[in-house]
């Protein structure tokens, strides 16, 4: 499969097969959801200044919005975050409460905004991966991949097969790490503190593999335009097996600890429910969309790299609640292990980056013996390479949903515009709808089940 074509792959044969697999969404049902979603029902649209005033007012007298029910009485505005331990970083929520029930809410973001899209316009395509990798810090390789695929589309090049399989290996390892991290934090948020230790422990083992290959535990800057930064080191296969061997058993322990535990089920089942129509209207992707029973996974539905050559299942839920989202992520760990095992078998030999002198720096050894190689190396790392004019969008399935990169080139060595469509940013919009009419005690469970990474939300 040519990665330059995949994001728009839409031939008739595929379309026919898709109709059977993707859930059926009728326009009528979608319209019904639309009426609900565009109303003021769940989303509180209040400025931060006004919220601050309302919170101050609430200290002496209850805040009463115009539409407060005169019979049931008072509504109160309460702030949660941005420094709350269970808000996954710096998410702030303005909650409108009636007693203990959340009526409406508004996520307030931007506390981690560092202008990474602006910075990206001032970095060459070689440096760009270093920038985007810091967005979603729990799954950095996916941002690098989306960025590289977009740049490769503009250049009209394709990474060699070995590079693509290495990318798949690394991305699936990263998905393991991200989902294990979710299991840890989700457990911690709900009071299953031992789960936190187990989750972090397994994740650390996976990160050890990523460190062995890329040199860094996180923010790898490993997937580059035209391939990957380095070939797999000696002994990578043994190390991968060492990481994978104990995992299924450990996942079984998670299952025993959480899945059938009555307290766990009661905290999560029926909490934070969303329907497939609502999720689609809100542009939600990833485990949240799949928890509604709608099977949509870019790895299967618009395959990039060589995902069409490996066998795996798309995990879906039934009820669209927090429990389904937990279960899907747990099951996806198993699917990623399945994919990695196939990648280990199918890893081809060959180049780990494209042999195109325009984008690939010369090997280190050549620099010592050739003046031209030194100049070439110097040019690529100072000026970068020029990318033909154009615009494109490349999307990959990150652990949180569709991670897209919209890139515009004006023909120079730096992207003219580099926009990252962060799945967490879009998915966060479901939060008010998930929390509407739920108890304040469930807030933490719901935020946790959305699994937002604020670095990517704020960029």
């Amino acid at each position: 499969m040519n990665p330059a074509d995949t994001p728009t792959a839409s031939d008739a044969g595929q379309a026919a097969a898709a109709a059977a697999t993707a859930g059926k969404i009728s326009i009528e049902a979608l319209d019904a959801a639309l009426v609900h979603l565009t109303s003021d029902h769940a989303v509180l649209r209040m400025s931060e200044t006004k919220a601050a005033e309302a919170t101050a007012e609430a200290a002496d007298a209850a805040f009463e919005p115009a539409d407060a029910d005169p019979v049931t009485g008072e509504r109160m505005i309460m702030n949660m975050g941005p420094a709350h331990p269970s808000t996954h970083g710096v998410l702030r929520l303005i909650l409108e409460l009636e007693g203990e029930t959340i009526i409406r809410s508004k996520p307030v973001i931007g506390y981690l905004h560092t202008g990474m899209e602006k910075t990206g316009e001032d970095l060459t395509y070689v440096q760009g991966c270093t920038n985007v990798t810091r967005m979603d810090y729990a799954s950095p390789l996916f941002s690098e991949l989306a960025f590289s695929l977009a740049a490769e589309q503009l250049l009209g090049i394709e990474a060699p097969p070995r590079a693509q399989w290495i990318r798949m290996l690394m991305c699936e390892m990263n998905r393991l790490a991200s989902h294990l991290l979710f299991q840890a934090t989700n457990g911690m948020d709900l009071g299953a503190v031992s789960m936190m230790l187990y989750g972090w422990r397994e994740r650390e083992e996976v990160l050890r593999f990523l460190e062995m290959v890329s040199g860094l535990r996180m923010n790898h800057n490993f997937i580059r335009v035209g391939g990957v930064a380095a070939d797999l080191p000696d002994g990578w296969r043994d190390e991968a097996m060492r990481v994978l061997e104990p995992l299924p058993e450990r996942i079984g322990e998670f299952d025993v600890l959480l899945t059938n535990q009555p307290i766990w089920r009661e905290r999560l089942q029926g909490v934070g429910v969303i329907t497939a129509e609502e999720a689609i209207a809100l542009g939600t992707t990833g485990p949240i969309l799949r928890s509604t029973g709608y099977a949509w996974d870019l790895r299967r539905d618009q395959p990039y790299l060589h995902y069409d050559e490996v066998d795996f299942d798309v995990c879906v839920g039934t009820y669209g609640d927090s429990y389904d989202r937990y279960a899907i992520r747990l099951a996806e760990i198993g699917e990623s292990i399945r994919i990695i095992r196939q990648v280990l078998d199918k890893m081809p030999t060959g180049d780990y980056r494209i042999q195109d002198k325009k984008v690939t720096p010369p090997p280190r050894a050549r620099i010592d013996e050739s003046m031209e190689a030194l100049i070439h190396h110097f040019k690529i790392f100072t000026e970068g390479f020029k990318v033909p004019e154009g615009e494109t969008y490349a999307a990959v399935e990150s652990p949180r949903g569709e991670l897209g990169c919209y890139m515009v080139s004006d023909g120079s060595g730096k992207p003219f515009r580099m926009h990252i469509r962060g799945p967490s940013f879009v998915n966060l919009q479901t939060l008010p709808h998930l929390m509407a009419d739920s108890l304040i005690a469930d807030t933490v469970a719901i935020i946790s089940s959305v699994d937002p990474i604020l670095g990517e939300v704020d960029r």
């Binding site: 330059a4 994001p7 728009t8 792959a9 839409s10 595929q14 379309a15 898709a18 109709a19 993707a22 059926k24 969404i25 326009i27 639309l34 979603l37 565009t38 003021d40 989303v43 649209r45 400025s47 931060e48 200044t49 973001i109 931007g110 905004h113 899209e117 602006k118 910075t119 001032d122 589309q153 503009l154 689609i280 209207a281 809100l282 542009g283 939600t284 992707t285 949509w296 539905d301 618009q302 004019e389 154009g390 615009e391 494109t392 969008y393 999307a395 569709e402 897209g404 919209y406 004006d410 003219f416 515009r417 926009h419 469509r421 940013f425 879009v426 966060l428 919009q429 704020d458 960029r459």
Partner: protein, 178 residues
């Protein structure tokens, strides 16, 4: 969708009749292909109708919406009849059943940076349009909460505009003991 609307937009920019015929239309608006991806070029007036038509045709998800400031790169290629403006709003759509994608590029003039909001059709654009407003100063008509989302409420300026220089804001360092 009638084809008349696309022709109407083309007429505004072209004086002779000939180039109009050469513009390929889809959903009544000019269409181009960029790296194998279908791109529609509706005018601001056509935007909401086009999006509704797309939704009826299976493009159920609005996956992305962002702005681009072409201030320093005015000579980009656009289909005949589309006049290049300073700003563009780029909206991405997904048809999950047929597994296809499509993108809209809407020209937004610098002297009137407004665009109709897609909130009524795709409520998922709410945060994305707020981001575009915050970063580019493009205001969306019909949006329920047209406020800043990433920058502080009292921020002046729109950071992703090309005339908003990097390093414009002095970095404050804490006083250090020497």
């Amino acid at each position: 969708m009638s084809l008349d609307e696309g022709v109407g937009a083309a007429e505004a920019a072209e004086t002779d009749d000939e180039p109009v015929a050469s513009v390929e239309l889809a959903y009544g608006v000019p269409v181009t292909t960029s790296h194998g991806q279908q791109v529609l070029h509706p005018s601001r007036e056509q935007l909401v109708d086009t999006v509704r038509a797309l939704r009826d045709d299976g493009y159920l998800m609005c996956i992305d919406s962002c702005g681009v400031d072409y201030l320093t790169h005015p000579g980009r290629s656009l289909p005949a009849g589309i006049q290049a403006e300073r700003f563009e709003v780029v909206v991405g759509f997904l048809d999950p059943a047929a597994r296809r994608r499509l993108r809209l590029r809407v020209q937004i003039p610098a002297d009137d940076p407004t665009c109709p909001s897609l909130f009524a059709v795709h409520p998922g654009t709410e945060a994305l349009e707020r981001e575009t407003f915050d970063m580019f100063g493009i205001s969306f008509d019909g949006h329920p909460d047209m406020t800043r989302i990433l920058m502080p409420e009292d921020w002046v300026g729109h950071p992703l505009r090309k005339d908003y220089a990097i390093g414009q804001i002095p970095v404050q360092f804490k006083a250090t003991h020497s």
